[in-house]
């Protein structure tokens, strides 16, 4: 609307020669411009405010891909950090990262999309808040088990060490396991002391381990112990992030920050009703990336299909 008035009142050279036709010319011009800008006129241009925890690394990568995808469609996107963020009139605020989400939830009652935040943390922070949704950082459990089954066709038993945060997934894990014909063995470690015996016990009945994010089980020092121990037991580990695939897991499945940004943009566009964004329930990302540590695979003498083949097969199952 802001653009139309100046264009409509524009006096083009030579127009005055038509004298009384000027009003008509103005009308035609206004119509032409209106047609050109039809989408924006029909649905007021949406405004997305992006708040990213830090303007660098994975936060920035997610923000860039989100901004690029929305801007291509002519959306207005403004970017800020938690320090510079203030409530505004945007149609949607996308909070990238946990600190950003905490700040945004405290500052607005308008729609919010959480990005790059783990499900358990999101639920703790935003539980019961209306108009707040998340594209979880985690991959769905069924996809992780499907990947293990594709990569290790003889797989019948999987061990999953759980800690204070991941223990809530125990029931879901076992239900999915039953559905996929995989016996899921879990052991819960309440404190660091329990972890080593838990792993030893699980290894006796499991062919592979699934490592889930947990502040105890996947703590930096526990990880070192975890990978040394599982390697000694000759059990491959599926993990949840690219750094873990480099550190000692045989494979990892995750969505990259770029995938999160693009998928969020697609979700936002699809949820635009013309006068607001109605995202609905939170969801896991559809996109994923598989990393394989071929050095570990070779040492464990496990012949894995390539990441491309696994990706294709896993996509077909989704």
């Amino acid at each position: 609307m802001l653009l139309i008035q100046p264009l409509a009142s524009l006096r083009l050279p030579g127009m005055s020669a038509f004298g009384g036709s000027l009003a008509l010319a103005k009308l035609i011009l206004a119509m032409l411009v209106s047609i050109m800008l039809l989408p924006d006129l029909a649905f007021a241009q949406p405004w997305v405010s992006v708040v990213l925890t830090e303007p660098k690394a994975y936060y920035q990568q997610a923000a860039d891909s989100l901004t690029r995808a929305l801007s291509r469609e002519g959306w207005k996107v403004t970017v800020s950090t938690p320090e510079s963020y203030g409530a505004n009139g945007s149609d949607l605020t996308v909070a990238i990262g946990t600190p950003a989400l905490e700040k945004v939830l405290a500052g607005t009652r308008r729609p919010v999309l959480s990005l790059l935040v783990p499900r358990s943390t999101y639920e703790r922070l935003a539980s019961g808040r209306p108009q707040v949704s998340a594209l979880y950082l985690d991959q769905p459990l069924h996809r992780q088990l499907q990947l293990l089954a594709l990569a290790l066709p003889d797989l019948k038993n999987v061990g999953v060490p759980l800690g204070p945060v991941s223990r809530e997934l125990q029931g879901e894990l076992q239900a999915i396991g039953r559905d996929k014909g995989i016996q899921v063995h879990t052991a819960i470690a309440e404190k660091n002391l329990d972890l080593y015996p838990a792993l030893t016990g699980l290894a006796a009945e499991s062919q592979a381990f699934l490592l889930l994010p947990d502040p105890l089980v996947a703590h930096r020092s526990s990880l070192q112990n975890f990978f040394l121990h599982t390697y000694r037991l000759k059990r491959p580990v599926l993990a949840y992030s690219a750094p873990l695939a480099k550190s000692g897991a045989i494979m990892a499945i995750y969505a990259t920050p770029e995938q999160h940004g693009e998928e969020a943009a697609g979700w936002i566009r699809a949820s635009w009703s013309g006068n607001g964004v109605g995202l609905g329930g939170s969801r896991y990302p559809k996109g994923f990336t598989i990393s394989i540590n071929s050095t570990v695979a070779r040492s464990l003498d496990i012949a894995l299909p390539s990441a491309e083949v696994l990706t294709r097969e896993l996509e077909a199952l989704q």
Binding site: R124, A204, T295
Partner: protein, 630 residues
Amino acid sequence: MHSLYAWAGAADTLSEVDYFAEQPVVLSASRLSQPVNRAPAAVTVITREMIEASGFRHLVDVLRLVPGMVVGWQGGNTAAASYLGLADGFPRSMQIMVDGRSVYSPSYGNTFWRGIPVTLDDVDRIEVVRGPNVANDGINSLFGTIHIFTRHSVETLGGMGEAAVGEEHYREVNLRYGAETDNGSWRLGLVGREDERHAVAQDLASDLQLSFRGDYQLSNRDELMLQFGAAKGNWRGTNVGFVFSEEQDADFLGGFTNVEWRRSLGAAREWSLQLQHSFNDNEEDYPQFPPFDPTTGDFRVSSSGLRFSYLDNFEDDFRYSLALEYRNDQAWAPDLIADGATVRNHIYGLSGSLEWNPAPQWVVHAAAMVEHYRDILGTNVSPRVAVNWLPAEGHAFRLGAAHAVSGGVGLYANHADIKLSIGGEPVYQFVLGTQDLETEKNNSVEIGYLYSNPRHHLNLDLRLFNNHIYDMVDARRLGDFTRYYFNEGSVTQTGVEYQLRWAPQAGSWVSLSQAWVGADSANEKYEASVPEFTSALLASHRLGGIDASLGYYHIRDLRWRGAQQDSKYNRLDLRLAKSWKMATGRLQGAFVVQSLLGREFESFDADQMPGYGEQVFDTRGYVSLKYEFR
């Protein structure tokens, strides 16, 4: 404020940092071992589980589990492990390494097993390469290498206290504590031990050992391992081969430092720099026989080394490694070597290995070591080639050939000088070194077959081999009295060995190793020193919360070089153990009976004084109680 690389969050919360933060490469290229079916040589892996089930309390005894390996003791202090024989009380045809640090003594080429400050509780695993491995591990690996790996310090956080007591004056206290720091972890261990091996008068031995290991993550790609340790032993008898009297005893002091800086260049590449120093100091008084000048069995040996290695496992079908090494070995033994002078050997080594997969079912290995010994032994090249063929899942064949060298009797054989003097003038010259000795050499070929059935938890490793060992170093009398060292004689060994492991269910497993070796030589001593048959069976089963295990070790008549009688054992050990989980930790009690079938002659028995007594290992038992907490 939100550092990307700091560990994030409260103890009960996750954040995105848990997903994206860079992590140190835990399973770095050098930590990953090659699958045995793709390795260029046969490998026996002795795990912690096996060590515990065996009930053995000395590192060297555990090696009985290796096919073709014989373990012997003289008195309570000097132990010897010999793979495929041809050894006297100072075996020198195996390279022995603890965390990449060679522990053979530069003086005799042997190993002071009892003086290595590594407890069995520290050990993560022992990998024994069966077959010449000089191409990778350097001189002495004429028949193979024993790699002892200790546990990473992050695996031993918290405390452990163990007390064991048994017959034959056996007492042991083992203490360990480990903790985390901002960027790593460490542990400190202390062991006090006393035992009698053979119930002869001269074999009560006591040890006090201290060991430290720290692992520090300097950055996500830099890791520093720091180790040091010391061992003090008061051992009745001798460390240098002969007991003259009941009063003779040896005070041993050993120490080492080992520092390794490892840099990961991604998951598959790394380089490392290792710096090590170790020494062994022996004070041993001989009885004096006036009017001859007093003599002792004192010695001091040391070894200092620097090693740079580069490992590249990046390409799926092509991998290589390179290593450069410098070592300085020294020996001083006033009444045994070079008339009191310190003798040295400066060693420069360059080695490389290649692994190529021309097709998924083929692996081609080539490796070589060039070692230059500046002072003795000269320059030696030790190549090895091997081809693995994996025609079907679970089956692998290996064909290998190698040329390997051993330093013989080390600095001693080149510089030995043992005599009786009066007023500084030699009267009787017993032994004299021959300064231009060459290395002992082995041309070896082998065929290996490996079968693996993961579904039935069954693994078989079979090896047929032929070794032609020549330029053997041996002492011979010239004239009436004096013995000199020469390179002479050869032996051809042909043998077959296998190891089988079956783990039918959790907590139940069987490991069986056997070897038959035939030897052909013009020298009967050489032939007799090759173990015709060895057998080791270790089985464990969990029943009603009790771990019961049984070990059976057998060698048929074998006469160590220099021994007066054959060594043979037919040993049966039994262990029962139970663990209890406590509020703060775990308690384990164990009861072990050793040599249940009776007296076993296990000594390499060099010529000892009259009335020394029979060196037999008699039936005995011990109990232990161990408490671990974090």
